[in-house]
Amino acid sequence: MAESVGVKDLKVVEGVTCPFCGVTCDDLVVHVEDGKIKEVKNACVLGKDTFMHHLEGWATPRIHGKPATVDQCIDAAAEILAKAKYPLIYGLDSTELHAQRKSIELADLIGANIDHTSSVCHAPSLQAVQTVGISSCTVGEVKNRADLVIFWGCNPAEAHPRHPSRYSVTAKGLFTPRGKRDRMVIHVDVRPTPTARMADAFIQIKPNSDYEVFSALRALLKGHELDQTEVGGVAIDEWKTLLEKMKSSKFGILYWGMGLTMTRGKYLNIVALLTLTQELNRYTKFQAAPMRGHGNVVGMAQVLTWQTGYPFAVNLSRGYPRFNPGEYSVADLLAHGEVDAALIIAADAIGNFPAKMAEHLRSIPMIAVDPKESETTKVATVVIPSAQAGIAAGGMAYRMDHIPLVMKKVVDSPYPSDREVLERIIAKVAAIKTGGNGAHR
């Protein structure tokens, strides 16, 4: 595993895992000169930008807006968290596994609520899997076998640019030696997206009609005739044609995105989708999978699950893990104004949340750990810059299908990694709590 540090000659690091999205391409080649990234090969435009612009917009260490050292910031962060009665730890998508693991140790220590960005993207998908399960597979199965690929409420052409070429559309595999010519690709969405251009067929449905459509498909699959002539703005006959394609495929997969998780029906949309795809296994091999997204958000769900049993929205205030989306999920904790301190790490909460939630975050002591300035760092009580995971800090990341991958460090950073920041906060909080200096609750 080659590591490059600041030397005069050019270093080339191969097999680099991209930290940007859940496609988690691990074939990047990064050229480093004098400790700076000069070139990135094989990456998509999103991944390339992540590497090429990693030096821009760095956060600086500060407390109450005033410059401070990292050490001072870590002490201040520990003071806040040790004193808090009902703290929140949130974010954690754009970092690597070992930092995520430490964030849970910290949450256990201080009895925090801990949640991550799944909570506002694919949490309904996780809830749906908890309800009915899922028939799924790794992306390599799609590459090797799928002859029917459906993208529903997702837009890989723009959000996961290399998914089609590496795994799902043009990828060539064991039983798909001709790539795209061995597959039919269908795109279902409320409006045409660039993904429609790579699809053999595009079906435009009415917004918020997904649950109804999946239910109709299930009824048709069971041999029922429907009274309606159209569902979701699409003629029944067209749905029958789609269903026949699904049944007659040798290996079908339906990928879904936030077009289903964050629209009316939420997790019930996914329950209907998952049930349909499970039931199709009476006729053929049929799978479904979420187009998981930002950074290493899947890794956080993994480690949170193995340490606490639950994939998101975990509360540790009673000393043991509790799970209750709607109560311990970040949106609800903030909307109800319940938490009295927050550690936001590797995500921009303020920049992404509705005003009411952001307002509560602004009103409490907030620590931001991030390599870059963001709307969150701008208003945080304490800002701790960190080395960017996957670029200036190594570790592990998970692909959208739960496959674990090594993250390599390609350049140095003057700042500690997220993992180190958390380890130091944990040590300091533990010292405060056992030191009897009045800080513990």
């Binding site: 691990d26 799924s136 597979c137 992306v139 039983f175 193995w306 049993g309 674990p404």
Partner: protein, 546 residues
């Protein structure tokens, strides 16, 4: 380091060294059992205690991508078990699929110190190692799933046995694995297009090889590499009526070679269909009794909630349709599959009660305790925390009789269980729960209390109720340190990951990298696991080629 300990006055059961209840002093220094301590030693008064080597679980599912998927999709399970954080100890949850820290504490609380994670897809092993790091106190090892690996199938199709052997060695070395696991060989590959194999001579689609060929090839590779544990086999047709014929045929196919048959209870069924479901434990036990090359763990059913987790995708699809419970399936590129279905075993359900009886019949009918091991195939037959209950069933005929009154009445008429008078002795319990599995694993320094063994020791209170006794060890020593006292975990520490170093049998061919990247979706160089990623580890050398 350097800590010395003397355990005095205890009744010692160390069957590997022929010690059967003698009062004997055990000396510990630097984490090992020694002849005598050189300096001042802490003394543990073990009067009225039974002293045994730490327990060894040869087959359990405690941490893997599959286990974690099961945790994630069973929030309802976790309400049954809550563990609060304590100084030095992490919080946790879980009953059938406990969280990692809880898993380490729960095994320790039963006096277990070594556990083997029984099913791992190669591409997910990086994940498994991370989970095992978070399972404290106990030592762990990983079996690698190979019975449906498309490279192996391809090499077999081409008759390239040398490539099979090199590939197996490469996998174990790259992944820091402990042994070879097969799950429904050929059948899981068939499942990738929604099918299964019906028997040992069914051809696998495209690859044109049979389960029989896969079994023989991997057994041959295992023995010629001199791996410490025989192939660990989840045979074809698990869970299906009349599968005992496949089970017998499978053992027959590998006659003369070392073989570990996993969770044999699930493979000892008769009857043409579910209506005729019946026990064939007698037939299976007879075969095992007559063939000393075979070891087995039982996969005992425990009444109540279970989570079925297996690479056997086609079986899990059947169970989903039978039980109508939720169903998780994850097929893994090139390698294997995975299915998860929650399940509850009920005393009054005919099939469940017979399954329960079959496990006990096998325990009681297989005469050599060195070849039959305690397992529930956790959490498939039920959670491992019920081992003490199973021990009581084995040791106490009256307790079995009480249970027989509670379960479906046809167990009385349809199985041999009511007629079996055998009661396990403490020494036999020590064999099936520690000495035997350690020996079958080739772990020379585990499962006994002889000089040089790891100082992993469990001390139980003597008493009339074996369940109570094995549920409540008074002391547990791990690597010479006291980790449990009076039922409370007093010192947590990291357990080690045990991995086998296979012999050098040649590199993979140069074109392998290209083949790998043609069918996988990750880079070849990103597949192997760096040894430094496993902070606490112990290399176990391979033995001599057989």
């Amino acid at each position: 380091m350097g800590r010395s300990l003397k355990i005095v006055g205890g009744e010692v059961y160390d069957p590997a060294n022929g010690v059967n209840g003698a009062v004997k002093e055990i000396c510990v220094q630097d984490g090992k059992i020694v002849e005598s301590c050189t300096g001042a030693a802490e003394v543990i008064d073990a009067t009225d205690l039974v002293v045994m080597p730490g327990g060894v679980d040869i087959h359990t599912h405690i941490g893997s991508p599959a286990v974690n998927a099961a945790r994630g999709f069973r929030p309802e399970d976790h309400r049954h078990g809550l563990m609060s954080k304590k100084p030095g100890l992490r919080s946790g949850v879980g009953f059938t699929v406990p969280s990692t820290f809880a898993t380490g504490y729960l095994y320790t609380r039963m006096g277990y110190t070594t556990v083997m994670e029984a099913a791992n897809a190669p591409i997910g092993v990086r994940h498994t190692h991370e989970e095992l790091i978070d399972i404290p106190i106990v030592d762990k090892g990983i079996y690698i799933l190979m019975g449906n690996n498309e490279f192996i199938l391809k090499y077999l199709k081409a008759g390239e046995m040398d490539k099979v052997k090199r590939y197996v060695a490469w996998l174990i070395r790259s992944l820091k694995g402990y042994g070879i696991k097969l799950v429904n060989p050929g059948g899981v590959e068939q499942w990738k297009y929604g099918k299964d194999v019906e028997g040992l001579d069914d051809k696998v689609y495209y690859f044109d090889v049979t389960p029989r060929q896969i079994l023989k090839a991997l057994s041959w590779a295992n023995e010629s590499l001199g791996l410490p544990h025989p192939i660990h086999l989840h045979a074809n047709r698990l869970g299906i009526p009349n599968n005992y014929l496949t089970t017998l045929e499978t053992m027959h196919a590998l006659e003369g070679s070392r073989l570990h048959m996993a969770h044999t209870q699930f493979h000892s069924y008769g009857g043409e269909n579910w209506g005729g479901f019946c026990s064939k434990a007698v037939e299976v036990a007879e075969y095992i009794n007559a063939h000393p090359n075979v070891t087995t763990d039982i996969g005992q059913v425990v009444f109540g909630d279970a989570t079925t987790i297996t690479a056997d995708g086609p079986w899990q699809y059947r169970l989903y349709k039978l039980s109508k419970n939720k169903w998780y399936n994850q097929d893994v590129e090139v390698e294997t599959g995975c299915g998860i279905v929650p399940y509850a075993y009920r005393e009054k359900n005919y099939v469940n009660a017979i399954q329960w009886a079959i496990g006990l019949e096998l325990f009681l009918l297989i005469r050599d305790p060195w070849r039959v091991f305690l397992s529930t195939d956790h959490p498939n037959g039920g959670p491992f925390i019920f081992y003490p209950w199973i021990i009581k069933l084995l040791m106490d005929k009256a307790f079995r009789a009480e249970m027989l009154k509670r379960v479906h009445k046809r167990v009385l008429s349809d199985t041999t269980l009511p007629k079996l008078d055998r009661e396990y002795t403490l020494s036999e319990i020590a064999i099936i729960s520690r000495a035997g599995p350690a020996r079958a694993l080739g772990l020379k320094h585990k499962g006994h209390l002889g000089i040089g063994a790891d100082a992993d020791v469990a001390m139980y209170p003597k008493g009339d109720d074996p369940e109570r006794m094995f549920e409540h060890p008074v002391y547990v020593i791990k690597d010479g340190e006291t980790v449990l006292r009076e039922g409370e975990i007093v010192g947590t520490r990291d357990g080690k990951t045990l991995f086998v170093v296979p012999p050098e049998v040649g590199e993979m061919d140069p074109e392998f990298k290209t083949e790998f990247e043609n069918y996988y979706t990750i880079e070849y160089e990103n597949f192997p696991i760096d040894i430094e990623d496993i902070p606490n580890r112990e290399a176990i050398p391979a033995g001599v080629a057989r």
